[in-house]
Each structure stands twice: as structure tokens, then as C-alpha cells.
């Protein structure tokens, strides 16, 4: 490629669109550098925080003044929607990172590598959300996934963590292969991998349909939708909890962002099938969670159920031009609320793992409200938001999703989804019951605080999550205005 074409590719707009990506890459490299110079060691947390905040501010700048054209030869878009997703990715990473700061004990010496890997993940997410080309999406997917494989196995002394990493890696590799195979078939059928050209192409050829099916299988794997959800409980449970938080919020949001962009690939007549998949996913997630005694595993299943809920929006998005905007709003609002809620919930589990007997079973949560009232109250708030009780962002998110699914004509499905969320509430209540209504279990050892004062970043992250969950629940107007 000659220099001339590179300069036309990376014109001003492209530079602006890629700004957050550059900021993150630069920050990650600086972090590595700071790591090897002992004098600068103290500054590493500052570098991570500054990088993520800078990327977020750049994304907010793009929200207010989006790049209208698709840049870099029509492969990457920084429109308002993908910039909004970008803000969400930065928030998810920042929250997970804050919760990870005092999480590791035996692997603390490797915190630098951990933070570096975490800083890389939002780059992948942004590429996925902004991709206007199957190959760019694939690059994003891998940039996101490879650090996550390592992060999932980060607690090397724990067999479960290694198992989680290996499982995630093997299945993720399969999913990636599915995607490539699908993209190859699509290319073979239409001669292009660019969305702009695929929109014009004949999308009914059997080879094309088969390719799209493979691509969807791969994306469904990432968002943990039936029948590609089986890895979720093991991986979520085994991974270090802050990494679980990142997977549950960031990865899922990125895959959904792509799914909304790529929904045109799926014939609109298949919306019914998507709804069916959504309902089965919700049923499996909610019923599975009902059986769990470990809260972390319970939240993993609840994550499956939430993926099912948001899939209803995708179906609505597919079913008509009329609902596009409403569906997009609903998806962004729902995922926004979910990022704060799930990050908060998993983060608090991370806090719990660092104190007491280090487990997150219902048994060990008994009597938490008297031991740590603020933590129990925050956890309750997040659980109520996950369950969709008013005054929390989770309720309005659910409301918007149901509105879209009702308007797209799936009335019965909406009623079933509503009833399935009652099942959801049943297991969230089990946690609240344990925290507030049952006395502390005698088996539990004396609660230990690992480091005095070490909870400051966690408390900060929890407070941010709680404030946003409540604000999104009570003043949704402000957030909805941002979406337009």
C-alpha cells in the first residue's frame, strides 16, 4: 500500500473516529513501559484510570459530534450509536478494573499484566460495535477474546480458574472458526464482506443463508444465547470475579451492538424464530438460576436470561423500519442499566470473596445485612434492578424492551417474557432473604478485612453503579435524551 493511499484512508475524520482506539492503545503501551521502570511503578494505576477516562471522554465527544461517514474505506463507523456503545465499554472496563484492584492476593505481582490485558479489551469491543465489515468485526472479536482467555485463567493457583480459561478458549476458538467459515461463505455467495455492499446483495442464496447462520451462531455464543450458552455458568463461576463482570457487561454489550448492526443479514421473516430463541433462553437462564446455591453461578444464569430478554429487542429491530429507533433506544438503555447493575453485583461478590470465608454461597451471605449493612443494601438494589423493580434502571430497561416486543406484534411472547421475569425475581429474592432475613451461619469464620482502607476503589465503583442504577430508574429522561 503506497503512502498516498494511507493518508487518504486516515484522513481527519478517520483519525477522529479512531481517537478512542488510539488513546487506549497508547495508554496500554505506556502502561507496559511504566511497568518496567521501577521508579514509575506507583503511577501505573494512574495510567490505567487516565487512559480509560480519556477514551471515554473522546467517545463522549463523538456522541455529541459524531462522524457522519463510514471511515477507512467503509469499514468503521463512529456514528452516535456506536459512540454511545463506546462510552458503555469504557464504563464497563473502568468498573471491572476498579473492582479488580484489591481482588487478587497470590497473583498480585502480575497485576500489571492483568491491567494491560484489561485495557486491551475495550479496543476489541469498540471495533466490534463500529465494524461495518465482517473482517473488522472479526479483528475486534479476537482483540477482545484473546486477553479475556488469559484473564479468565488469571488465578493460576485455582483449578477452576484454569478450567474456565481453557473452556472459554476452546469454545471461543470454535466460535471464531464458525465466524470465519460463515464469513467465507457470505463472501463466496456475494463477493463482499462490507455491510454497505451486502445490503445491496441478494441475500436469499442458500450459501449466503448458511454463512449468515454460522455467523449468528458465533455471535450467539458470545452473548450466551440458547443453544450456545452452556459454557457460561462454568466460565463465569471459575473466572476471577472482576473478569466475570467484564465478560457479563462489556463483551455482551459489544456483541449486541454488532448484532444490531448486522441484523439486516437475517431475513425479517425469521424474527419469529429469534423470539422463540429469546424465550427459550430466558426460560433456561431463569430456571437454571433457581437451582443454584452459589450466587456467582446464579448471576451467570441470570446473565443468560438477560441476554434472552434483549434478544427480544433484536427481533423487534428486525421486524420493521418503524421500530428501528425505539428498538435501538431500548437496547442501549437496557444494556446501559445492565452494565451498571451487573458490574455492581459481580463487583460486590468480588468484595465478598476477599472477606469472610471467601465464598459466595447463599450460606455465607446469611446475616450480611447486620455485618455489612451498606454492602447488603447496595447488593439488594442491584438485585432489584436485575429483577426489574421500579425506581431502578432495570425496570425501565425491561419496560422499554417489552414495549418494543409488544409493538412488533409478539404480544403472547411479551406476556410469557413478563411471567418468566417473575421466576427471575424468585431467585433474586433468595439472595435478599439470605442477606436480610436469616441469621448468620455458625460455620462462617470471623470476617477478615484483607487490607485496611483497601476498599476505597471498590466503594467508589459501587457508589457509581448505585447512583446510575437509581438515576436511570428515576430520571430516565436525561438518559433517553442522550440517545437521540
Amino acid at each position: 500500500m503506497n503512502p498516498q493511499s494511507i493518508s487518504t484512508l486516515f484522513d481527519d475524520n478517520a483519525m477522529r473516529a479512531m481517537g478512542p482506539l488510539f488513546a487506549l492503545t497508547l495508554g496500554a503501551l505506556v502502561l507496559l513501559l511504566v511497568g518496567v521502570i521501577p521508579v514509575l511503578h506507583a503511577a501505573r494505576h494512574l495510567v490505567v484510570a487516565a487512559t480509560l477516562i480519556a477514551a471515554m471522554l473522546l467517545q463522549i465527544g463523538l456522541v455529541n459530534d459524531p462522524v457522519t461517514e463510514v471511515v477507512i474505506a467503509g469499514t468503521y463507523a463512529a456514528d452516535r450509536t456506536s459512540a454511545l456503545w463506546g462510552v458503555l465499554f469504557c464504563v464497563a472496563t473502568l468498573l471491572s478494573w476498579l473492582f479488580s484492584l484489591h481482588y487478587y492476593s497470590e497473583d498480585r505481582p502480575f497485576q500489571l499484566e492483568h491491567d494491560f490485558l484489561m485495557l486491551i479489551t475495550p479496543i476489541g469491543m469498540m471495533l466490534m460495535a463500529g465494524a461495518q465489515d465482517l473482517m473488522v468485526f472479526f479483528v475486534g472479536l479476537e482483540v477482545l477474546s484473546i486477553p479475556l482467555y488469559a484473564l479468565a485463567a488469571f488465578r493460576r493457583n485455582r483449578a477452576r480458574s484454569i478450567e474456565a480459561g481453557l473452556k472459554y478458549f476452546l469454545l471461543g476458538a470454535f466460535a471464531a472458526a464458525f465466524f470465519l467459515y460463515g464469513a467465507a461463505l457470505v463472501y463466496a455467495a456475494s463477493g463482499s464482506v462490507s455491510f454497505a455492499e451486502l445490503r445491496l446483495a441478494d441475500r436469499t442464496a442458500p450459501m449466503f443463508v448458511a454463512g449468515v447462520a454460522l455467523i449468528m451462531a458465533s455471535v450467539f455464543f458470545k452473548i450466551s444465547v440458547f443453544p450456545f450458552h452452556l459454557w457460561v455458568p462454568d466460565v463465569y463461576e471459575g473466572s476471577p470475579t472482576p473478569v466475570t463482570a467484564l465478560m457479563a457487561t462489556g463483551t455482551k454489550a459489544a456483541a449486541f451492538a454488532f448484532l444490531l448492526n448486522a441484523a439486516f443479514l437475517v431475513p425479517a421473516s425469521q424474527a419469529g424464530m429469534i423470539v422463540a430463541v429469546a424465550l427459550i433462553t430466558m426460560a433456561i437462564g431463569n430456571l437454571g438460576a433457581l437451582m443454584q446455591n452459589d450466587v456467582k453461578r446464579m448471576l451467570a444464569y441470570s446473565g443468560i436470561a438477560h441476554a434472552g430478554t434483549i434478544l427480544l429487542v433484536i427481533a423487534g429491530y428486525m421486524s420493521g423500519e418503524l421500530l428501528r429507533d425505539a428498538a435501538l433506544d431500548a437496547a442501549l438503555f437496557y444494556m446501559g442499566a445492565y452494565v451498571f447493575t451487573a458490574a455492581g453485583a459481580f463487583g460486590l461478590l468480588a468484595v465478598l470473596e476477599r472477606s469472610g470465608d471467601g465464598s459466595t454461597t447463599l450460606e455465607s451471605l446469611k446475616g450480611l445485612s447486620t455485618r455489612r449493612p451498606a454492602l447488603a443494601a447496595a447488593m439488594t438494589l442491584f438485585l432489584l434492578s436485575l429483577g426489574g423493580i421500579p425506581a431502578t434502571g432495570g425496570f425501565l430497561g425491561k419496560w422499554f424492551v417489552f414495549s418494543v416486543s409488544y409493538r412488533s406484534g409478539f404480544v403472547v411472547a411479551t406476556v410469557i417474557a413478563a411471567l418468566l421475569s417473575v421466576v427471575g425475581m424468585a431467585y433474586y429474592l433468595r439472595v435478599v432473604v439470605a442477606m436480610y432475613m436469616q441469621p448468620q451461619s455458625k460455620l462462617l469464620g470471623e470476617p477478615v478485612e484483607p487490607h485496611p482502607g483497601s476498599n476505597v476503589p471498590m466503594a467508589l465503583a459501587t457508589a457509581v453503579c448505585a447512583v446510575f442504577v437509581l438515576a436511570m430508574g428515576m430520571l430516565p429522561g436525561y438518559f433517553l435524551d442522550q440517545l437521540r
Binding site: A391, F395, F402, Y406, A418, V422
Partner: protein, 517 residues
């Protein structure tokens, strides 16, 4: 900030104030809660005084734009009081200070949390009654579940966990079906304003109305609770702390009957006319069934809980007669039930605090050791059994009159309920108060103290007042009820017109009056 916003959110402010106190300052927390609820009671009284029943439109309206979803109607934060809600608001404002005062005796652990939840509950309940925006209504409706869940779950009796989770999931299931109906209404009519929706929904074809009616009715029927859904009530009541039971019986159950009136009947008169027979039937069965259940109980609190099922059967029977007398009777009976059943729960709580049992056969003859208690219990029982001169009589008379005009057979069943009601109430009273004083523990019981008397007295005042001079209370809701009755008669006229095909000209004329969307 108008007074209604203050009225609704003052308890929340109080709750925040309680939150800020140190958890050991129990007296301070109690005083904050009591003074907050008293302030709400004063505000409620002022609003009650200002209220002009002749104006049909909601009064003291506050309306602030809240949010709007793409392609959906604008949602407002809209509160207002009208003839259907004024009595409910007054009842809530009156009962809450009494409830708070009653907790002095039985809540001594985790007082701070208790007061917070009580105050949050008051905000939720007032919000439900005052909301004039469908979304806001739903918002408060579901929020009001949370406090009771904690109140029963933390301060309840032995099987409290089972009871509270059952209560929560039962009501939530109903609510979520209603949520879908709410969404349907919003997008069908393009507005969330309850007044506008009431205007427009009545014009829907009866078949369309019936679906929405059914979804709303399910949520309300579970809350009331109506007959097949009543099982959560006995558990929740039995396990709840006294104050929780009083709020539950006094106000929370009224959310269901109030919802039936404002939404199912006023909003969907066509469907209400169509399905009135079903609801009247269930109401009548509920009266007798609840009475039989009550007769079989040995636990005093469970007995009162079962009598609730019976009393709420009257409310349903009266309201779905869809006549002026029936609806007014139902309305008044909601207040009566709040007062008399609330008082019964308070009394049961007082004796439980002294004896730590509620089993009927543990008592006997305590009228001699607790004469004041005996007087109050007899008043409450007679009010509950509808003795003329007390409030219950007025309500049940109006209900039975309304029902008789529509279906004499059901009215007869209702009258049987009155008889059964007297049986179980008087038998229980005899077992507790009279007969030989056999047990030593009962001989040493101390009578009611000043606090207990002072929280019962206001209820007694209203029991007698409504019984002797019900007109001022009925007048508050009469014009609003008349309008509902008018709507229902129009719907009924339409129904019978369409049922008589031999007069096609009239049918066409009538149906052309109603724009069908």
C-alpha cells in the same frame, strides 16, 4: 411543589431522616417516624377539607413531564385527587400514625430499618392512590410491594420467609401481566394520562376491552385477594408483625379494590358490564367461603385474616353491581374494613404482646382482668359484624341493596354471610372475653395503657361517626361514583341494544353514538 407532592414524598423525606440517625437511637427514630406520619395526616386532613366533591375533574393536580420513549406517548409525573381516591388517601393518612404508634409494643429489633420501610410504604401507597398517569401508577404499584416484603420477612413470625416470598411472587406475577396491558394501552391510545385513557378506552369494542380488563383484573384480584387467589393472604397476615397486618388489611388490600374501581370498572365499563356476573358471583362465594374459613380457625389472627376475605367479598359484590348504591357501599366498605379489621389486628397484637399466643382456647374470661380491652374488642367486633349504628352496617346495607337490585339471589347469599360473620365473630369474642377465667396467666394480664388507648380511640371515633352520620363521607365520592354508574348504564344500554336484533334501527342508532376505534 403542590401539597400533593409533599403529601406523597414527605414520608420518603422522613425515611431518609431516619436513615441518617445512628442505629441505637431507637427513640429518635420512632419520634421521627411518628411526627412524619402525623404531618402527613395533617396535610391529608387539609386536602380532605379543601376537596370539592362537585368538581368531577381531579383536584390539586401537579403534572411534570417525565420521559418519553421513541414513538411512545409522553409520560408525566402527574398526581391529583378525585372522588374515587379522596377517601382512600384520607384512610391512609389516618391509619399510618396509628400504625407507627402501635409498633412501640412489638418492634424492638432493627427499629431503624422498620421505620424506613414503613415510611417508604406510605409513599408507595399514597402514590398509587394519587397517580393520574398510568406509568406512574404502575411505578408506585410495584414499589409498594418491597416494603411489605421486608416487614414480613424480617419482623414476622415463624414461617415468615415462606409467607413473604409467596406474597411477593403472587402479586408480582399479577403485576407483570398488567404491565403488558399497560404497554398495550399506551401504544393503542398514544397517551398515558389516566383521565384521557378513561375517556377513550370506554369506546373500544367490548371484546377488545375484555382482554385489557382481564389483564388489569388479574393483578387487582390477586391483590384484593379475590377467591381463587386468596391463599397468600392468610399466610402473610398470620406471619406479619401486627403493624404489618394493619397496613396490609387497612390499606394495601384496598390498592386492589381501588384498582378494580378506577381501572376495571371506570375505564372498561363495557367489559365490566359483560363480566359483572362473574365478579359478583366470586364476591358472593368469597363472603361465605371466607366466613367458613374464619369459623374453622383457632388462631385469632388467622381468624381475622379470613374474615378479611369475607369482607372484601362484600366490596367486590357491591362494586360489580354497578349501581350507585352498590358502588358507594363498596367504597365505604373499603374504609370500614380498613378501620374495623385494622382495629381487630391491633387488638390481637396487643393481647399477643402480653400472652405470646393467639390460640383461642388459651383465653377465656379475660374481660374481668382487662375491662378496657374488652370494651374495645366488642366495639371492633360489632363494627365488623355490621351492627346498626356502627360503620359496618351502612356499608353492608348499601352493598346488599345494590346487589339486590341486580341479583336478589346473590344478595341473599350476601345476607347469609352477615349471619355467618356474626357467628364466628361473636363465638370468638365469647371464647376470649367471657366464661370462666381458668388460666392463671390470664388472671394477671395488665389492661391497656394510655398509648394503646390513644391509638385505638381515633378509630372508634370514626367507626361511630360513619355509623351515625355517613352522609358527609359518602358525599365526597358520590359525584364521581355517579359518573361511573352513568358510563356503565351507557355500556349496558349498548349491550342490550346489540342483543336485540329485532330492532335493527335502534341498534344502528346506538352503536353509531359510540365511536369504535
Amino acid at each position: 411543589m403542590t401539597s400533593l407532592t409533599w403529601l406523597t414524598f414527605l414520608p420518603l423525606v422522613g425515611a431518609l431522616a431516619v436513615l441518617l440517625t445512628p442505629s441505637t437511637a431507637v427513640q429518635l427514630q420512632r419520634m421521627i417516624a411518628l411526627s412524619t406520619t402525623l404531618a402527613v395526616a395533617v396535610l391529608g386532613f387539609l386536602i380532605y377539607r379543601q376537596f370539592d366533591a362537585a368538581l368531577l375533574d381531579p383536584q390539586n393536580v401537579v403534572s411534570i413531564p417525565w420521559f418519553q420513549l421513541e414513538g411512545g406517548p409522553a409520560i408525566h409525573f402527574k398526581l391529583g385527587v378525585d372522588g374515587l381516591s379522596i377517601l382512600m388517601v384520607a384512610l391512609t393518612a389516618l391509619l399510618m400514625p396509628i400504625v407507627i404508634l402501635s409498633t412501640w409494643g412489638h418492634v424492638d429489633k432493627r427499629v431503624k430499618e422498620f421505620m424506613v420501610w414503613m415510611l417508604v410504604m406510605e409513599t408507595g401507597m399514597l402514590g398509587v392512590f394519587l397517580a393520574l398517569d398510568l406509568v406512574l401508577f404502575y411505578f408506585f404499584w410495584e414499589i409498594s410491594l418491597i416494603p411489605l416484603y421486608f416487614l414480613v420477612g424480617i419482623w414476622g413470625g415463624e414461617r415468615r420467609l415462606y409467607a413473604t416470598v409467596k406474597f411477593f411472587l403472587y402479586t408480582l406475577a399479577g403485576s407483570l401481566v398488567m404491565l403488558v396491558a399497560v404497554i398495550a394501552m399506551l401504544y393503542r391510545f398514544g397517551t398515558a394520562d389516566i383521565g384521557a385513557l378513561t375517556q377513550q378506552a370506554g369506546a373500544l369494542a367490548v371484546a377488545d376491552q375484555s382482554w385489557l380488563f382481564a389483564a388489569f383484573a388479574l393483578a387487582f384480584a390477586i391483590k384484593v385477594p379475590m377467591m381463587p387467589f386468596h391463599t397468600w393472604l392468610a399466610d402473610a397476615h398470620t406471619e406479619a408483625p401486627t403493624s404489618g397486618s394493619v397496613v396490609l388489611a387497612g390499606v394495601l388490600l384496598k390498592l386492589g379494590t381501588y384498582g378494580l374501581l378506577r381501572f376495571c370498572i371506570a375505564m372498561f365499563p363495557g367489559a365490566a358490564v359483560e363480566w359483572a356476573w362473574l365478579f359478583m358471583g366470586i364476591g358472593a362465594i368469597g363472603i361465605v367461603y371466607g366466613a367458613f374459613l374464619a369459623m374453622a380457625q383457632n388462631d385469632l389472627k388467622r381468624l381475622v385474616a379470613c374474615s378479611s376475605v369475607s369482607h372484601l367479598g362484600y366490596v367486590i359484590l357491591g362494586m360489580f353491581a354497578l349501581t350507585s348504591a352498590g358502588l358507594q357501599g363498596g367504597m365505604l366498605q373499603m374504609i370500614n374494613h380498613g378501620l374495623s379489621t385494622g382495629m381487630l389486628f391491633l387488638l390481637v397484637g396487643m393481647i399477643y404482646e402480653r400472652r405470646h399466643t393467639r390460640a383461642l382456647d388459651e383465653f377465656g374470661g379475660i374481660a374481668s382482668s382487662m375491662p378496657l380491652f374488652a370494651v374495645f374488642l366488642v366495639i371492633a367486633v360489632l363494627s365488623s359484624a355490621a351492627l346498626p349504628g356502627l360503620n359496618g352496617f351502612i356499608g353492608e346495607y348499601l352493598i346488599l341493596k345494590g346487589a339486590f337490585d341486580v341479583s336478589p339471589a346473590l344478595a341473599v347469599i350476601g345476607v347469609l354471610g352477615v349471619i355467618f360473620g356474626s357467628i364466628y365473630l361473636l363465638v370468638a369474642t365469647r371464647k376470649v372475653l367471657f366464661g370462666p377465667l381458668t388460666r392463671r396467666e390470664n388472671r394477671e394480664l395488665s389492661d391497656l395503657d394510655l398509648r394503646e388507648v390513644s391509638l385505638l380511640l381515633p378509630i372508634v371515633v370514626f367507626i361511630v361517626w360513619i355509623g351515625v352520620a355517613p352522609t358527609p363521607f359518602l358525599a365526597q365520592s358520590q359525584p364521581a361514583i355517579d359518573r361511573v354508574v352513568r358510563r356503565c348504564s351507557e355500556a349496558r344500554a349498548l349491550k342490550f341494544a346489540s342483543l336485540s336484533p329485532q330492532r335493527p334501527g335502534e341498534t344502528a342508532a346506538l352503536s353509531s353514538q359510540a365511536p369504535i376505534r
